[in-house]
Amino acid sequence: MDASPLLKVEDLVLYFRTTRGVVQAVDKVNLCLEDNHAIVIVGESGCGKSSLAKAILRLLPKNVQSYQGKVFLDQVDIMAMNDEEFRKNVRWQWLSMVPQAAMNSLNPVLTIGDQVTEPFILHTSASKAEALLQAKKMFDYVGIPESFLYRYTFELSGGMRQRSAIAMSLITMPKLIVLDEPTSALDVLTQANIFNMLKRLKQELAISFILITHDIATSSEIADSVAVMYAGQIVEINNATRFFIEPLHPYSRKLMDSVPRLHGDKEPDFIVGRPPSLVNLPTGCRFKDRCPDRFGKCSHEPPMTLAKDHLVKCWLYEV
C-alpha cells in the first residue's frame, strides 16, 4: 500500500434506526484508495453500497443510530470535523458525488448552467461569469456542446443529463468523485460512451473514482481494484485484473458466475437463497447460509486475511 493514500477508511460504521430495529448498513468497513485510482464497489441491492458512499460523504438522513470510525482524506481525519467545516472544506473541495439516477436529480425549473455553476460559485466565491467559463470547460471534458448550458433538463436526453451531472461534480475540481450507479438506466451505447469519458477524465485530470454498481461486467471498464460488499461488510478487495480472472471469496466467485456473457459456452449460474436482512444478521460469516464451501469454522466471524496479495474475509484463506 502507498504510504499516503488519498482516502483511507477505518472501521467505518453506519447504523440506521427503524421501526423494525437497527439496520446495520455499513459495518466496520476498511478501505484504502490511492491517488488517480478507481475502485469499484460491487454487491447486490441492499448490501449497503450506497450507504457506504453516503457515510464517506457524510450525507446522512435523520435516523442515524450510530456513525463512527475514521476517514482520512489526504491524511486529514475528516470524521473529526464538525458539519460546517466538513461542508466548507471537504465536500465539493475534495470529494463530490454523482447520485444514483443523477439524470433525474437535476432541477427541472433551472437551466443546466444555473445548477452546474452553483457549487462553484458557493465554494470559490467566483462570479457568475467566471463560473460559466469553468462550466464550459467542464462541458468540454464530458462532451456536451456549450449551448446546452442555457437549456432546461427536459430538453436533454438521459445520456446528456448524466453527463451534465458528471460535469457538475467536476466543476470544483475535486480529487475524488463518488459515482453511484452512473449508467444503470442508460442504453448500451450511451453507457459505453460515458465510460470512455470517465477513462479520459481519469487520465487527463488525475481524478480518483469510487464507483458503486451492481453491474459487474460494465464495472470492469474503469476498475483498478474491486471491493465486494455483502450484508454491510466488505468481503474482498482485489486488484481488478486479478479479480475478473480469479475472485477469491466464495461470494465473489458466485457473483462472477452469475454474469451473463456474450461469448463462450459457460452457462451463468445463480446464487441460491437471499442475502440476510441487515436488521437481523446471522452470527459468524454472513454468507455461510448460501456458501457452497462452508465448514465448521464459519460459525465464527472470519477476519480479513491477506491471501495471494489480496484481502479476503473468509476462513478458507486463513494462514
Binding site: 442504453d187 453507457q191 459505453a192 460512451n193 453491474d215 470492469s220 471498464e221 452469475s258 459456452d265 445463480f270
Partner: protein
C-alpha cells in the same frame, strides 16, 4: 440445465440446421406485415404537427413455440411494437395476423377472445400489480374478467401456476401484498399471472432488467423451462444483448423504428452484419480487467428524432461505414446473407 438446450451457440452449424428443418414444418403463429405505428402530434391540442414514426415498416413471422429476442435502445420503438401486437395500440398501417386473423381489424368482441391467448410479462413487476390487492386477488382478476366462474377451478389454476413459478408453499403467499415480496418473487407472480389463461404466446418486456444479477439468471432459467414445457412462443424484449442468447433462437435488432438485422443468435453474436449491431456488441462489456485500459470505438451521437427521421438509412448519420450518395438518400431494403440472416444495410448490396 433447462436454459441451455437449444439456443446457446456451442455448435453453431448443427443447432441452426436442426432448428431450421423443424421450423419449416411448424405453422406460423404470428405474422407481422409492413407494420407502421405512428403517433400524431398536435399543436395546442388540435392542428396537425407531424407524426412520431415509432414503428415504420416492420415485418416478421413468429412460429409456434419459437423464441425471439428483440433488442434495441430506449426509444427505438420496441415497446410500441409490442403494445401493438398486444392490441393495446391500433396500427397506422400494415397487418398483424395471429393464427391467420388480422387483429387490427378485430372488433371489441373478437379482441376479447384474442387477448387471453397472449400473455404479457411487464418490465417493472411492482408497477404491474395493484398495490392494494393481495396475490390471490391479483391472480384471480384476469380469470374473473375472462368468465372462469368456477371458484375451485380458479383456485386450482392459481395453485398450478404458482407451483410452476416455484412460489411455494403457496398458502404463505396468497394473502401477501406485492410490497411484502422480494423483487424476484414479484416477478414470479407476474409470470404466473401471464400463464393463468393458458396463452400460446408471451410477450416478455425486459422481464429481468429490474433484478439483481444473481436473481436475473434464476428468473431467466425459470422462463426458459416454462417456455419449453408449454411450448410457448415468446418475444423477449430487452436492451441487454448478453442475456438474449440464453433465451432466444433468433434475435431482431431494432433501431429507430426499423428492424435492421434478423439472425439466429449464434450468427448475430459471431458475425454481426449491420454496423449498428456491431456497435452494440462492441459496447456490451464482458468482465475483464483489461477493459479499463482501452477506449471503445463507439459511434458518437444519439438515436434520431422519430418525428423527422433522417432520409435513407436511419443509422447513416452515426455510421462509420457510410457510403457517399447512397446511405443518406435511399432507404436500404432487406438483404439476405443466409436463409435466416437478413440485414437492412447497403454494405451488403
Amino acid at each position: 440445465m433447462p436454459l441451455n438446450v437449444k439456443n446457446t451457440p456451442v455448435s453453431i452449424a448443427v443447432s441452426s440446421a436442426a432448428s431450421l428443418t423443424k421450423d419449416n414444418n411448424s405453422r406460423t403463429l404470428l405474422s407481422v406485415q409492413d407494420l407502421r405505428v405512428w403517433f400524431e402530434l398536435r399543436k395546442f391540442g388540435f392542428g396537425h404537427a407531424g407524426f412520431v414514426h415509432a414503428v415504420d415498416g416492420v415485418s416478421f413471422d413468429l412460429h409456434h413455440g419459437e423464441t425471439i429476442g428483440l433488442v434495441g435502445e430506449s426509444g427505438c420503438g420496441k415497446t410500441s411494437l409490442m403494445k401493438t401486437i398486444l392490441a393495446l395500440y391500433r396500427p397506422t398501417g400494415g397487418k398483424i395476423l395471429f393464427e391467420g386473423e388480422d387483429i387490427s381489424r378485430m372488433d371489441k368482441k373478437a379482441l376479447k377472445r384474442y387477448r387471453p391467448k397472449i400473455g404479457y410479462i411487464q418490465q417493472d413487476p411492482y408497477g404491474a400489480m395493484a398495490p392494494f390487492m393481495n396475490v390471490q386477488r391479483i391472480l384471480e382478476e384476469p380469470m374473473m374478467d375472462n368468465h372462469i366462474k368456477d371458484r375451485n377451478e380458479r383456485y386450482e389454476r392459481i395453485r398450478n401456476s404458482l407451483e410452476e413459478v416455484k412460489v411455494t408453499p403457496i398458502e404463505d403467499f396468497l394473502q401477501k401484498f406485492p410490497h411484502q415480496l422480494s423483487g424476484g418473487q414479484q416477478q414470479r407472480i407476474v409470470i404466473a399471472r401471464s400463464l393463468l389463461l393458458r396463452p400460446s404466446f408471451i410477450v416478455a418486456d425486459e422481464p429481468v432488467s429490474m433484478l439483481d444479477a444473481s436473481v436475473r439468471v434464476e428468473i431467466l432459467r425459470l422462463l426458459r423451462s416454462i417456455q419449453e414445457k408449454r411450448h410457448l412462443a415468446v418475444i423477449y424484449v430487452t436492451h441487454d444483448l448478453s442475456t438474449v442468447r440464453y433465451f432466444s433462437r433468433r434475435i431482431f435488432v431494432m433501431y429507430a423504428g426499423h428492424i435492421v438485422e434478423k439472425a439466429l443468435v449464434s450468427d448475430l453474436l459471431n458475425h454481426p452484419a449491420h454496423p449498428y449491431t456491431q456497435a452494440l456488441l462492441l459496447a456490451t462489456s464482458e468482465p475483464d480487467g483489461a477493459n479499463a485500459r482501452v477506449f471503445k470505438e463507439i459511434p458518437p451521437g444519439e438515436p434520431p428524432n422519430l418525428i423527422n427521421p433522417p432520409a435513407g438509412c436511419r443509422f447513416h448519420p452515426r455510421c462509420p461505414k457510410t457510403i457517399q450518395n447512397l446511405c443518406g438518400n435511399e432507404m436500404p431494403p432487406e438483404f439476405e446473407l443466409g436463409s435466416e440472416h437478413k440485414v437492412k444495410c447497403w454494405l451488403y448490396r
